[in-house]
């Protein structure tokens, strides 16, 4: 069974989804990520879905679960690069992923994770909800 590779970049984990994701693959990503966050003590997870052509309710739920699980494991999750057509469809479907942070691209996502980490180490409770 193929798996989606998880890259470690400093305190963050980077996942680039480049295949047409079927349900089992999504579930194994969810499990793998939880494992890796725990084993690497990662503080942030960045999921790049810019090449994903659709996000249906199942994948949407997996993304929300990943965000929730990593929050419990003290890591922030940012989903980046969602295509406009995918976003429109997801909203129409009734999914707005309220617990998931988003950014336009990997670069912005990284900035967001770094800013979150900094504000945390500075001791403030800065929990900005959107990236700029």
């Amino acid at each position: 069974m193929d798996r989606i590779p998880i890259l470690k970049m400093g305190p963050f984990l980077l996942v680039t989804i480049q295949v047409d994701m079927h349900d089992r693959l999504a579930l194994s990503l969810q499990d793998d990520l939880a494992e890796r966050i725990a084993s690497t003590e990662a503080r942030g997870v960045l999921i790049d879905i810019s090449s994903l052509e659709i996000v249906d309710s199942f994948i949407g739920r997996v993304l929300a679960n990943i965000a929730a699980v990593s929050r419990v494991l003290d890591a922030q999750t940012v989903v980046v690069g969602m295509q406009p057509a995918v976003a429109i469809t997801l909203v129409e479907l009734g999914l707005s992923l309220p617990g998931v942070r988003t950014a336009l691209n990997v670069e912005r996502g990284m900035e967001l994770l770094r800013a979150a980490l900094e504000s945390e180490t500075l001791g403030s409770d800065g929990d900005a909800s959107t990236a700029f």
């Binding site: 690069g81 969602m82 406009p84 976003a87 909203v91 988003t102 336009l104 912005r108 990236a131 700029f132």
Partner: protein
């Protein structure tokens, strides 16, 4: 319908193609419907001779009763091309139909000569030619109409895109000033072009200004909310500005909540907010 074996039309067209063509061209350029302003002589000649050649082949193939048959495919394709070109050039449907109908006289003349004294034969052949050419002329009208409709729907689309300009205000800040009545289709176009521009320009903030929108109904309000939600999923924030008092009342009255959307009274407020959000500070310089 005349059966193919008894018809002399195939032979007439085959043996007198050149004469028929000459007369037909003369007929077209002399008639009151001549459009030398839109079509040059060379083009007319080219078009006519091509048509006559295909017409001859189709007639030869024998199916005179049905111009929608496969034998007539070549003729129909040529007519479709001519009709479409004519629609774009500004010909009237009459001009295009006349192109086909004006072939009647040359054909009748030739048939009269060849039929000799056989009145029955002449009557029958005349009827055949009339039916065939009338059907072809009607076909051109239909194609003409259809290509006109295509032009109209394309223009509607273009107009819609023109009426919803997405402008870049600052690095990372986009704005769409909406003016006029918003219907569902237009709101959808706005939504799609705005989101696409967000990707293209990597803008983190988009301002939707509805100061020029007279009324907002539930559907439009919902579209606005969906745009805000979709932009957030992509990683951008939307600001809705220029909400007029009565529209604010409507929105509350409709029970629509602008969840997740930042709202500002004026476009100026929205710009200021957007600049501050992006880390800029605005201050008046000393004069």
């Amino acid at each position: 319908m005349a059966s193919p074996d008894s018809s002399i039309l195939p032979a007439v067209v085959r043996d007198h193609q050149r004469e028929i063509l000459q007369q037909w061209i003369a007929e077209q350029s002399s008639g009151s419907n001549a459009r030398s302003d839109l079509l040059s002589d060379a083009e007319l000649r080219q078009q006519s001779s091509e048509f006559l050649q295909l017409f001859r082949e189709a007639v030869q193939a024998g199916n005179l009763g049905n111009v929608m048959g496969t034998e007539w495919q070549g003729v129909r394709e040529l007519l479709a091309t001519v009709s479409k070109a004519n629609a774009i050039r500004g010909f009237t449907p009459i001009d295009t139909a006349t192109f086909v109908l004006s072939l009647k006289r040359p054909l009748f003349q030739q048939l009269t000569t060849d039929a000799g004294s056989d009145a029955d034969l002449l009557a029958r052949e005349t009827w055949t030619v009339t039916t065939v050419l009338d059907s072809l002329a009607l076909f051109t009208t239909e194609v003409f109409q259809r290509s006109r409709e295509e032009v109209i729907s394309r223009q509607q689309q273009e107009l819609m895109e023109l009426s919803t300009p997405v402008v870049k205000l600052w690095d990372g800040i986009l704005a769409v000033p909406l003016i006029g009545t918003l219907d569902s289709a237009r709101t959808q176009v706005v939504m799609e072009s705005l989101l696409q521009r967000i990707v293209d320009t990597e803008a983190g903030i988009a301002i939707i200004d509805i100061a020029g929108v007279p009324t907002v109904d539930t559907l439009v309000a919902q579209h606005l909310i969906k745009t805000v939600a979709a932009a957030r999923l992509m990683g951008a924030e939307c600001i809705i500005s220029g909400i007029r008092p009565q529209i604010a009342q409507t929105i509350v009255h409709l029970g629509v909540e602008l969840v997740g959307a930042v709202t500002k009274a004026t476009l100026a407020d929205a710009i200021l907010y957007a600049l501050r959000q992006s880390g800029w500070s605005v201050s008046r310089g000393r004069s």
